[in-house]
């Protein structure tokens, strides 16, 4: 494995600072919401985690397309890295949403269109990892993974748009004025600033984790190739 690039160390530092600032904004700068109280603050990282989840799946789809066009193995490594990070953050999004829902909807879980599509999306990408784990030939695994990541991405816009297409109790915070939504609120300027900064911080977290995960994938690839070479 190559030595850690200087730019990656810089990105680590910048990400840590921005993330810490986002945490400080959520805890100390953003005001308490008038009706929901403190639990509304879960929203900042809940949405940001959902953004990173979907961003990861988008990157995986793009990597899949490029892999199928070029056959370059590095895009397979990138696709896997993006899916893995996407899954972690999509899970954070689902679990933190469930915690928010308990006092606001009076239930941990309901099969609302958004919650259902988000769960299906997560399961689709869990199946991606299972599919890969079941194929030994690296080229075949990469090809199948790329096709799956492209087709699986259909679940992402469906999840994103579910609260705008279907009748749902999930709030649409930006541009949503559905009176049936439970837990909707108007953002004050401080709330909006905290929200936008959280999105920025999580974007940095994604970039940083993605770079690290790609390096890990390259190392795993090297180990696998050496192992295959020794077996032959």
């Amino acid at each position: 494995m190559q030595a850690k690039p200087r730019w990656l160390s810089i990105l680590d530092g910048v990400t840590a600072v921005i993330f810490a600032a986002a945490v400080a904004m959520v805890f100390f700068y953003a005001p308490e919401e008038a009706v929901m109280g403190m639990v509304q603050k879960v929203f900042y990282f809940h949405v940001s985690a959902g953004w990173v989840g979907m961003l990861g799946f988008l990157v995986a789809m793009i990597a899949g397309i490029i892999y199928l066009r070029t056959g370059d193995h590095k895009w397979d490594i990138a696709g896997l890295a993006a899916v893995e990070i996407g899954m972690v953050f999509a899970l954070i999004n689902i679990v933190s949403g469930s915690i928010w829902a308990r006092p606001i909807w009076n239930t941990w879980w309901t099969w609302d269109p958004r919650l259902t599509t988000a769960t299906i999306m997560e399961l689709i990408y869990a199946a991606y990892l299972m599919l890969r784990a079941g194929i030994e030939d690296p080229d075949r695994r990469a090809r199948f993974g790329a096709v799956y990541a492209i087709i699986g991405f259909i679940s992402v816009p469906l999840t994103f748009l579910s609260i705008r297409i279907f009748r749902t109790i999930h709030p649409v915070v930006i541009g949503g004025e559905d009176p049936s939504a439970k837990g909707a609120f108007d953002m004050t300027p401080k709330m909006l600033q905290t929200f936008m900064f959280s999105l920025l911080a999580f974007s940095f977290v994604f970039a940083d984790l993605f770079w690290h995960r790609v390096r890990l994938g390259q190392l795993a690839d090297k180990v696998e190739q050496l192992r295959l070479k020794l077996i032959q």
């Binding site: 008038a34 009706v35 929901m36 403190m38 899970l91 190392l219 020794l230």
Partner: protein, 56 residues
Amino acid sequence: MYLSVLDQPAPTMPYFIAGYAVIFTFMLIYLVSLVLRSRNLKQDLQTLEELEKKEK
């Protein structure tokens, strides 16, 4: 829950704490998993390279 009942914000601090505890814990677990996997792979690589040298 108490949305229309109270004049003050609902007392939801425990859920706020639980939400962020879960978020930070999941992120930390993933970070630790990256570090551990990297360490294990480096050890594997070292072992395989030693084996390769012996075979030569």
